[in-house]
């Protein structure tokens, strides 16, 4: 399904992209993601396809807002039956509930259901409407961290079973990883789209990388060319670092966006050429590795270390280093002003 929407209020936004299968639109909080969904559902004035010009009650959408908005005065089957007409609505509602493994909860009221159960009732209700498009607003926001991935995987499987395209808006990179198709919203427009693995592999710019949860993104100034070895010298002001890269295609005095993958940052016992002194600000034991946040100038530099080795304590001073080849720079044409604006904020 082709999506092409333009909004003026409450913020200017233009979203153009493909929706197929379980599509996730990734964007920062306040970037207008929820407004876009409300516009597609006909709840905000906007123009675009699909459903242009139709009142909300005539748009075949299944809309699941944040928190699911189940009607608190109706029990589960009555909530589902709300979308139905005719004498068979009770039976049809029960069938929808059974399809989502909720038959035994038919007479429960929303406040008697868990977050995941509420989401399934809301989905059953949305599906009972026979939508052409499902719209999900931050579907992970009301879920416990412990069950989130499981519930979302189940949701994605259900969406596939139902055969209805779904557009989920989120700021959660975990959800983006589950998508069939990914749209990335930044600065009021879709800046990248594609299968999540290809977007993950090659984020179009630093802003996209940040939305995907990448760390150690930087904005650096090209200081000078040539130190006799064909290198270019750059300055990363936030970290107070100067470093050289084997590049000669960067214009002096221009700004570039780049990233240093945290798992490429290593700790050394002592200083030396290329080593940088930093102080341990935070340390987290996650997924069998240490994730260290290191104070480096005015920014935090992340280093991922194997969980098998001991990690330095908080406030310890350490030396870190990396290889110049580990640094990735976005082509200057793509290193747009977005990153600078984000840094300014």
């Amino acid at each position: 399904m082709e999506l092409d929407y333009r909004l003026e209020h409450p913020l200017a936004l233009s979203a153009r992209g493909e929706i197929h299968g379980f599509t996730v639109l990734l964007g920062r909080s306040g970037s207008g993601k929820s407004s876009l969904l409300r516009a597609i559902a006909g709840l905000l004035p906007a123009h675009g396809t699909p459903f242009d010009g139709l009142p909300p009650q005539r748009r075949a959408v299944g809309y699941l807002p944040q928190g699911y908005a189940l009607f608190p005065h109706l029990n589960a089957w009555q909530n589902v039956a709300f979308a139905l007409d005719g004498s068979q609505r009770h039976r049809a509602a029960l069938e929808w509930l059974a399809r989502f493994n909720l038959a035994e909860l038919a007479t429960h009221y929303p406040d008697q259901l868990s977050g995941g159960q509420q989401q399934r009732v809301a989905l059953a209700r949305a599906m009972a409407r026979r939508p052409e498009l499902l719209l999900l607003d931050e579907p992970t926001s009301a879920l416990d961290a412990s069950t989130r991935d499981e519930v979302m995987a189940e949701l994605v499987a259900q969406v596939h079973d139902l055969g209805v395209p779904a557009l989920a808006v989120s700021h959660d990179p975990h959800l983006a990883a589950l998508a069939d198709h990914l749209l990335v919203l930044h600065d009021g427009r879709i800046v990248q789209q594609g299968p999540p693995d290809s977007v993950q592999a090659q984020p179009a710019n630093a802003a996209v990388a940040r939305l995907l949860g990448r760390r150690n993104l930087f904005h650096a100034r090209v200081e000078a060319h040539g130190d006799g070895r064909g290198h270019t010298r750059l300055h990363w002001p936030e970290a107070g670092l100067h470093f050289s890269l084997p590049r000669h295609d960067l214009a002096v005095h221009s700004w570039v966006d780049g990233t240093l993958p945290p798992h490429r940052v290593t700790l050394t016992d002592h200083g030396g050429e290329g080593a940088v002194r930093a102080r341990v600000a935070r340390r987290m034991a996650l997924d069998g590795q240490w994730q260290l946040a290191l104070h480096c100038g005015k920014t935090l530099l992340w280093a991922y270390l194997p969980g098998t080795s001991p990690a330095p304590p908080i406030d310890a001073h350490v030396y870190v280093k990396w290889s110049a080849s580990d640094i990735f720079l976005w082509p200057p044409a793509h290193a747009d002003a977005a990153m600078q604006r984000e840094n300014d904020e």
Binding site: G42, R59, G62, P65, A69, F71, F82, A83, R129
Partner: protein, 264 residues
């Protein structure tokens, strides 16, 4: 304390101060009615001539006024709850004016407008419908005195209904009217019930406005005044007891049901 303990939720130990203060306030509020029990001549309890008629007038016309108030006030309350617009202060001012105006003055204003020589009253007179000293005038007076109370309570009730749920009803294929009927109204029902109770009490007890534009037919408040003037204090008490008996059930039941449902 068994009265407070039975329905109390588990929680930190309660302070005694609020209990004694609340008891004192309740005592002050109950005192006049305890006095009424004492001063009523129970052995010679009887109604004055016309009291039964007054009870019928009050009950019947107040019910009619209540229906009109709900029909007129509900759309206005919903509109006020859901819309923000330039010049809203003017609407607020009109509501406040209706609340603030002393009943006697309101009666005079209504009389100037709806009386036989008033700009609207003259028109009704031509159609043979008098808006003074008539059943219509009685209901008119009650509507004017109770409508603003209902509108304020109903507006607060609608403001408590999440807008999102009304919007969601639209996305589920319901028309705006169906969304109002099936979502807004049921979710606002307890607040609306409180508004109905408030309007009922206000309409039934209205004296000042009614005195000016509808001295006849006499409802209970005016008849209490007439009994006091024509017969004496002892003729007031039986009718006052009757007033309590007819006025109390509706707000009492609405209040109890609403609180129970909210607690559930």
């Amino acid at each position: 304390m068994s009265m407070t303990g039975a329905l109390a939720e588990p929680g930190p130990r309660r302070a005694r101060g609020p209990f004694w203060l609340a008891s004192l306030t309740l005592l002050l509020m109950a005192a006049p009615f305890a006095g009424l029990v004492a001063v009523t001549h129970w052995s010679a309890f009887h109604f004055a001539r016309g009291d039964a008629m007054a009870i019928g007038v009050s009950l019947g016309y107040s019910l009619l006024a209540l229906v009109i108030i709900v029909l007129l006030g509900t759309p206005l309350a919903w509109w006020l709850a859901r819309h923000r617009f330039r010049g809203q202060w003017l609407v607020e001012a009109i509501l406040l004016l209706a609340l603030l105006t002393p009943p006697l003055a309101m009666g005079l204003l209504l009389s100037a407008l709806y009386g036989p020589y008033g700009p609207i009253g003259r028109w009704f007179e031509a159609a043979n419908l008098s808006l003074t000293n008539s059943a219509a005038a009685f209901v008119l007076a009650q509507c004017y005195s109770a409508l603003p109370y209902y509108v304020l309570a109903a507006r607060a009730a609608f403001e408590g209904v999440p807008r999102e749920l009304e919007h969601l009803a639209l996305t589920l294929g319901r028309s705006p009217w169906q969304a109002f009927r099936e979502v807004s109204l049921p979710l606002a029902r307890f607040g609306l019930a409180a508004g109905v109770a408030l309007a009922w009490v206000r309409a039934l007890g209205e004296f000042g406005v009614v005195l000016i534009i509808a001295y006849f037919p006499q409802g209970i408040p005016v008849k209490l005044w007439v009994n006091l003037q024509d017969i004496g204090l002892h003729a007031v008490y039986p009718l006052l007891w009757a007033f309590f008996v007819v006025a109390m059930p509706l707000p009492l039941v609405l209040g109890i049901v609403a609180r129970r449902r909210e607690a559930a």
